[in-house]
């Protein structure tokens, strides 16, 4: 099993916290209301447990936007919302003037763009903190249970993954969403190396 030292764990949570702060600001600009984000929690889980943590139920379908990143480390970043709220979010984004028919037609594309903005805002902040570059794929849109979405993004059922789990809440509209980062063991080691470099830079060599 992969382990982080307490210091590495703290640093990683703080770095993601800054990234999530930027993502919250972007989200807030998209929907024109305050967005509250939880302090991220990090867990080492397999895919099934990760899905359960995200509330995997047949009845609760979610729409997800994923992007694959490569560079300093590899990760699959996923943004998830309840499927029945996605039209509300798109409406908040484009405003009241767009007719419902047009809005429905552009729902998938608009959600992909929202995912693109939020995920890049978070990942871009991480890249800047690490003084590295991460290049992202185009956003992929998925609908299904959280288990189906995690498997569609390539997470192997038995592989241990780092789930960085962030809740965010749109206060006025009672919409809860999640951002998750899935990393395999190789990517975790690469990420750990970046954290060590960052710690050495900010604290000086041990």
């Amino acid at each position: 099993m992969f382990n982080l030292s307490e210091l590495q764990h703290d640093a990683l949570v703080e770095i993601f916290n800054i990234g999530v702060g930027h993502a919250a600001k972007s989200m807030s600009e998209i929907v024109n209301e305050e967005v509250t984000m939880s302090v991220p929690s990090i867990s080492f889980l397999n895919r099934a447990d990760a899905a359960e943590m995200l509330g995997n139920k047949e009845s609760s379908r979610v729409c997800g936007v994923s992007q694959h990143y490569e560079g300093a480390f590899k990760t699959e970043a996923i943004l998830m919302f309840p499927e029945d709220k996605s039209l509300d979010i798109v409406r908040l984004m484009v405003g009241e003037s767009v007719p419902l028919k047009e809005l429905t037609e552009m729902e998938q594309e608009a959600m992909s763009e929202i995912g693109n903005i939020i995920l890049n805002s978070c990942v871009g902040t991480l890249a800047n903190i690490f003084a590295q570059e991460l290049s992202g794929s185009l956003p992929q849109y998925h609908v299904g249970t959280s288990e189906e979405i995690l498997s569609a993004t390539g997470a192997n059922a038995s592989t241990v993954v780092l789930m960085l789990h962030i809740d965010f809440i749109l206060e006025k509209h009672q919409i809860h969403g999640y951002v998750a980062f899935v990393l395999d063991l190789t990517a975790l080691h690469d990420l750990q190396e970046q954290v060590d470099r960052y710690l050495a830079k900010v604290m000086g060599p041990a």
């Binding site: 930027h22 972007s26 600009e29 998209i30 798109v90 984004m93 484009v94 405003g95 003037s97 767009v98 552009m106 594309e109 608009a110 992909s112 763009e113 693109n116 903005i117 995920l119 890049n120 805002s121 871009g124 902040t125 890249a127 800047n128 003084a131 570059e133 991460l134 992202g136 185009l138």
Partner: protein
């Protein structure tokens, strides 16, 4: 002034193009907003258009926004070109600087678009 000028919005996201169009026309109702969904399409369009401003996304299918912006810079040396991107990484900002083009963070907001248009006056 009701002078007609053209802005080219290059983005693979239709919703982003729609928002950019709304925000440009709310400040400059007499201007013309042309759209392209890829860098390749933008390069083709500037052969017949003379935009005063090109807003271009980075992460797009095909050649991508940075490679397209490089060619657009050569094709339209006096046009103000700005990246409009969710990619907030310093590496991307630095590349924009090297190309002599602007950088605007997504999401596209009315405030950001109006500030940019104001700077063109």
């Amino acid at each position: 002034m009701n002078e007609t000028k053209t802005v080219l919005v290059v983005d693979d996201s239709r919703v982003s193009r729609l928002m950019a169009r709304q925000f440009i026309l709310s400040k400059k109702p007499s201007w013309v907003v042309e759209e392209a969904a890829t860098g390749e399409e933008a390069i083709e369009k500037v052969k017949t258009l003379s935009p005063v401003l090109i807003l271009i996304d980075v992460n797009m299918p095909g050649m991508g926004g940075l490679a397209a912006a490089e060619q657009l810079r050569l094709a339209c040396p006096t046009t103000h070109i700005s990246l409009v991107t969710a990619n907030v990484q310093n590496a991307t900002r630095n590349r924009a600087n090297e190309l002599g083009i602007g950088f605007m963070e997504k999401p596209i907001t009315e405030t950001r678009v109006h500030a940019l248009l104001g700077a063109l006056d």
